[in-house]
Symmetry: C2
Subunit: 282 residues, 2 copies
Amino acid sequence: MTLPALLLALAAPVQAAAPSPADPIEADWRTIPDDEIMIITLADGREVVVRLAARFAPEHVANIRKLARAGWWDDASVYRVQENWVTQWGDATEKKPLPADIARRPAAEFEIPAFTPAQRMTKSDARSTASGFSADGWPMATDGKAAWLTHCYGMVGVARDSLPDTGTGAELFTPIGQSARRLDRNYTIVGRIIGGMGHMASMPRSDAPMGVYADPGERTGITSVRLASDIPAAERPRYEYRATDNPRFAALIKLRENPAPPTIGTGGADVCEIALPTRRAG
Amino acid sequence: MTLPALLLALAAPVQAAAPSPADPIEADWRTIPDDEIMIITLADGREVVVRLAARFAPEHVANIRKLARAGWWDDASVYRVQENWVTQWGDATEKKPLPADIARRPAAEFEIPAFTPAQRMTKSDARSTASGFSADGWPMATDGKAAWLTHCYGMVGVARDSLPDTGTGAELFTPIGQSARRLDRNYTIVGRIIGGMGHMASMPRSDAPMGVYADPGERTGITSVRLASDIPAAERPRYEYRATDNPRFAALIKLRENPAPPTIGTGGADVCEIALPTRRAG
């Protein structure tokens, strides 16, 4: 079968080169701490792996770690899948008591202390004056005053009620479809899905209000949510990300902004077009 | 169940108000010509509705109409679903002979004659200096020299081989996930999915190269592709779009760019964040 070659070239998600001792990119891989990896196991055994943004949302991530350690999500579900918007999971009843040590109303962590990217996108976008990536690969943006992590496809946010401090981390969502940048500065971002995003993105959509499944039978069960650090060392999966504070990552961004001819580029790309390369180690 | 109210407010896709004689928006609805509506019926009976961009890609749409009238896709399939990239359909073998009257190498229709939006987005984005919507709702952008339709989520493009004029319209794709704006000016856009996009977006992803299902059994069959104009009038579905050349649509854009407090906005939004409201008539 003849595949469209140019589409192939354009289509390739940002991928790490195959590991090779001679590859200079090999030196750019960094270990993700085990307590920043959260593994969601679905009822059918498929796994979704979340990297936690512990540094940027410490209060919410503290709650999330406690919830995982308490096994609080072990009978949870994916209960909302709204087309071209979000997949959301947690306790569908929103009535399950939280463990005693969970902060009920952690302060909103919508913004981050400063815009300190190791790599900047060349052009501004419609929702910020500058954007880029932290050295450890989190996408961020600024308007020159505030700074925030961006709601790109696959980022993980904290669902909440109308008041800013009403999300605990027990209910989480990820944007599926067109990016959800209009949530920037309005929701706390706690992570990014680095494995199994296709599972979250391909669940049946609901036509019910907000995409919340009307029939509990439509939900996808979650059997467990565990931190990698709580898994016995011998069985523990380990993950790495590609550091951005080096010329190799800068080149990766430039190539997305200025693709090789004959592909026509525009000299710019949106920060959400670049998914940080990550991989399972070992 | 307590639903997150603010998420509800932010989450609502751009929707038409419920029809009401007193609603001024009612006057903004326009009929989509029957020969610009293409209905893809999947093997399980679900339908995907495509609005054709006949005015912007006349040569490719001419091919597509001929293929539909010839029943060429009646044993086709969705054979490629690449996570956070595209769903693609047509003849998985790429060997099925085309009808005699199909242009084998139509000229590329990557760009449009001019940037003539009825409504402009307030801010530029990373991939253009200006963007907006034609009066009949097609998203477009410019760099001040050329103009083009934008590869937003749900737009329909012509798959092709490496040479620009190698796509006929027989193989089509739609971006799923983060927008595919880097395809702008490199692929011919022939339409937008206005119904059933969730079906295309929720098919199982393939881990095979380019997301092309390795096992033919993974494909989703297509039983027919028909133009609405070729369906007997009594059974023919009719669709409408909301015209953009009026203050009501301008207000819709402004609200997306400057949401009502307490939601924080940035004064700008990406053209791909706004999906033209459409509806089935009658």
